[in-house]
């Protein structure tokens, strides 16, 4: 697939973002670098919310720490920027305390799978009714581009100057193995599919997980000769293919090789809350 580079559009005075109603516009400009994929993730998340047409006051967005974790700060909803790795247990508390809320976690690969890895697998195991959006840029961008649990073998980062020699996680496979009831992966090239994926994950009950592969031109792209943000999107176009229902263990991401995107898991099983409510009813229903 060929993607033509378009000229950068001019800034139009007075122009408004179509999803302005969901944005804390007084906080713009955002902190992200040019070529970063996070704006695409934010935009598509807002389009997904818009299309779902839920009561905005029923949606809470929770993040840990990192570049991705700054997304909620720009969203005009109840938003929580918590501690590093702890977005999921915070979100679990929020959801259990007020089950009427739609609770979404948006955070990065290091936050969710390194420091927060234990919380992620347990929330997936419990099937807590949360949607987790993990933006994977293969390194710790905020702190200067260190290696993380998703850094591919031989990847150059500020803490793997000779190339990474640790094996990396396949996030899709890990989330599926831990029990997530919905697992998908897209890239920031995928636009509408990303939006559709968010909508599906948000409306599917239980623990739902979407990995978004996203460029970090400033830190990862530059050091690994991928080029700028657009070059990375071109890489996705050349290497990604959609295969819904693929076995999660076949979805490994290896630089230079083709990789799979799509919806890999969609299962229906009772949520933590449903199981809890059923037990509570049993306990108070006169049974001894």
């Amino acid at each position: 697939m060929q993607v033509k580079t378009k000229p950068v559009p001019e800034i139009v005075p007075g122009a408004r973002h179509p999803m302005e109603k969901f944005l804390r516009t007084e906080r713009i400009p955002h902190i992200w670098c040019s070529g970063c994929g996070l704006g695409t993730v934010l935009g598509n998340f807002l389009y997904a919310l818009d299309e779902l047409a839920w009561d905005p006051d029923s949606v809470a967005v929770v993040a840990g720490i990192g570049c991705t974790a700054r997304i909620p700060g720009y969203v005009r909803l109840d938003t929580y920027h918590t501690t590093h790795g702890r977005a999921i247990p915070f979100a679990t508390g929020l959801k259990l305390a007020n089950p009427k809320l739609h609770v979404v976690v948006i955070s990065g690969d290091g936050d969710l799978f390194a420091i927060g890895g234990n919380h992620l697998i347990h929330a997936a195991r419990r099937n807590v009714d949360l949607t987790v959006i993990c933006v994977n840029n293969f390194n710790y961008g905020m702190t200067g581009g260190q290696s993380g649990p998703t850094t591919p073998l031989d990847g150059k980062t500020t803490t793997t100057p000779f190339g990474n020699f640790e094996h990396s996680f396949n996030l899709v496979h890990l989330a599926a193995s831990a029990g997530a009831s919905y697992v998908a992966r897209w890239t920031t090239l995928d636009g509408r599919r990303l939006q559709r994926g968010f909508m599906e994950a948000l409306s599917h009950k239980g623990f739902t997980f979407v990995e978004v592969i996203s460029p970090c031109p400033t830190n990862y792209g530059r050091r690994n000769k991928i080029g700028d943000g657009l070059d990375e999107l071109r890489y996705y176009a050349d290497h990604a293919s959609i295969r819904h229902g693929a076995d999660p263990k076949d979805t490994e991401f290896i630089p230079g090789k083709p990789f799979l995107v799509g919806k890999f898991v969609e299962s229906d099983k009772p949520t933590y809350h449903e199981m809890y409510a059923a037990k509570a009813a049993e306990m108070t229903g006169g049974k001894k």
């Binding site: 804390r24 920027h81 007020n98």
Partner: protein
């Protein structure tokens, strides 16, 4: 008939169970914890009680998650609590700091055991008193209450929830293994105070989430209430937005400290035992004060005019009351199950104006009254 929330009446229960019942009576409907002795009875009782009265109980994957879930639970609109002991207390320090920075009302009970590290998993200690004060990074004030009996464990848990709502802070209940496992009479009153959350009084369009009221505490809008608040552990302005300026940081940290210190005299609870004519004062707290109580009688029998200041609030420390003590007595004996933590505070407050002896033990058992008496006699001789 649905199960009762508040078990008004006379009970025979241990301190851990009393904390659990105090939480329920105070309106707590969210509890998250990770298994650890000697707090097991708190979690076990709440796992049985909360689901039956419409509350949420969840056993998390570790204490980091438990404390994070409690902060989330509070923003979900519930009165939220966790319970732990030393090793778990260490893991909770991170999100305790988040609760302080985001002004989240919640309660954390620490049933102290012998430490450092895994230490004595099922035996008594009071070695976490300074960790309670300074365990999370940065400069802050904290409220910590110390019960000496199961009845007080109940009462102080109720009070902890009330203080947490009033000041929008995490409140610590710093009990110990012996009080936690000691069975005594616990009377649960017919009416127990359920402190209201401080809600916004203006519509969302006029609401500034972290603009404090006259008492320096801002009202709290929880998730789903229509206020669309941004809450962050970063230094933030009154709108709740990150602001990395030193002015904003200094203003915020000072307010978080000042909102507690301004009301210090209302917060520092203590019991005075035979202090009127005392020449020697024991300063103690928790289970150690129970032992010292016996030693007071023994000292009086021997003709030593001994009294006791029993701390109920450990933090903020009752500086003023302890300072006055130095003007009255000839010597002070601090009794605690560590090698000198609160004694440092006594020393600081009295500024060396009166001889001070510590009756310390690292934990694993409580003091004997004779050990405390020996301390009283020593200071009586030298004082």
């Amino acid at each position: 008939m649905p199960p009762k929330a508040t078990l008004s009446g006379i009970h025979f229960m241990n301190g851990d169970e009393a904390i659990a019942e105090g939480a329920i009576a105070a309106g707590c409907r969210f509890f998250a914890a990770y298994p650890i002795t000697p707090q097991s009875e708190i979690s076990e009782r709440l796992s049985w009680r909360l689901p039956r009265i419409g509350g949420a109980f969840i056993q998390m994957e570790d204490e980091i998650a438990a404390m994070a879930a409690v902060v989330g639970g509070a923003w979900g609109g519930q009165k939220a609590m966790t319970a732990t002991s030393g090793p778990g207390f260490s893991l909770m320090m991170e999100n305790l700091g988040l609760a302080i920075m985001t002004e989240t009302p919640c309660v954390l009970a620490n049933v102290q055991r012998g430490a450092p590290s895994t230490g004595l998993p099922t035996a008594v200690g009071q070695g976490d008193m300074m960790q309670a004060r300074w365990g999370s990074h940065g400069h802050y004030e904290i409220i910590a209450l110390v019960p000496s009996s199961p009845q007080e464990a109940f009462d102080l848990t109720v009070r902890a929830f009330a203080l947490s709502e009033r000041f929008r802070v995490p409140v610590l209940v710093m009990t110990d293994e012996v009080v936690g496992h000691m069975y005594e009479r616990v009377e649960i009153p017919n009416e127990v105070l359920v402190a209201p959350r401080r809600r916004p009084t203006v519509p969302p369009s006029d609401f500034v989430p972290f603009r404090p009221g006259p008492d320096l505490v801002p009202p709290m809008a929880c998730a789903g209430e229509g206020y669309r608040v941004h809450v962050t552990g970063l230094t933030h302005d009154e709108r709740g937005y990150p602001d990395m300026s030193d002015e904003t940081h200094d203003r915020l940290v000072r307010r978080l400290v000042e909102k507690i210190l301004r009301y210090r005299s209302e917060l520092t609870f203590y019991e005075e035992i035979s202090l009127e004519d005392a020449e020697i004062a024991v300063v103690s707290y928790g289970i150690s004060a129970r032992v010292a109580y016996r030693a007071l009688a023994m000292a009086r029998h021997k003709g030593i005019k001994a009294g006791m200041l029993r701390l109920i609030t450990a933090w903020p420390f009752p500086d003023e009351r302890v300072r006055l003590l130095a003007d009255q007595v000839k010597g002070i004996v601090v009794v605690e199950l560590n090698l000198g933590q609160m004694s440092r505070e006594v020393e600081r407050a009295t500024q060396g104006r009166v001889p001070l002896t510590g009756v310390f033990h690292s934990g694993g058992r409580i003091h004997t009254p004779e050990e405390v008496l020996a301390g009283i006699e020593e200071v009586a001789r030298t004082g």
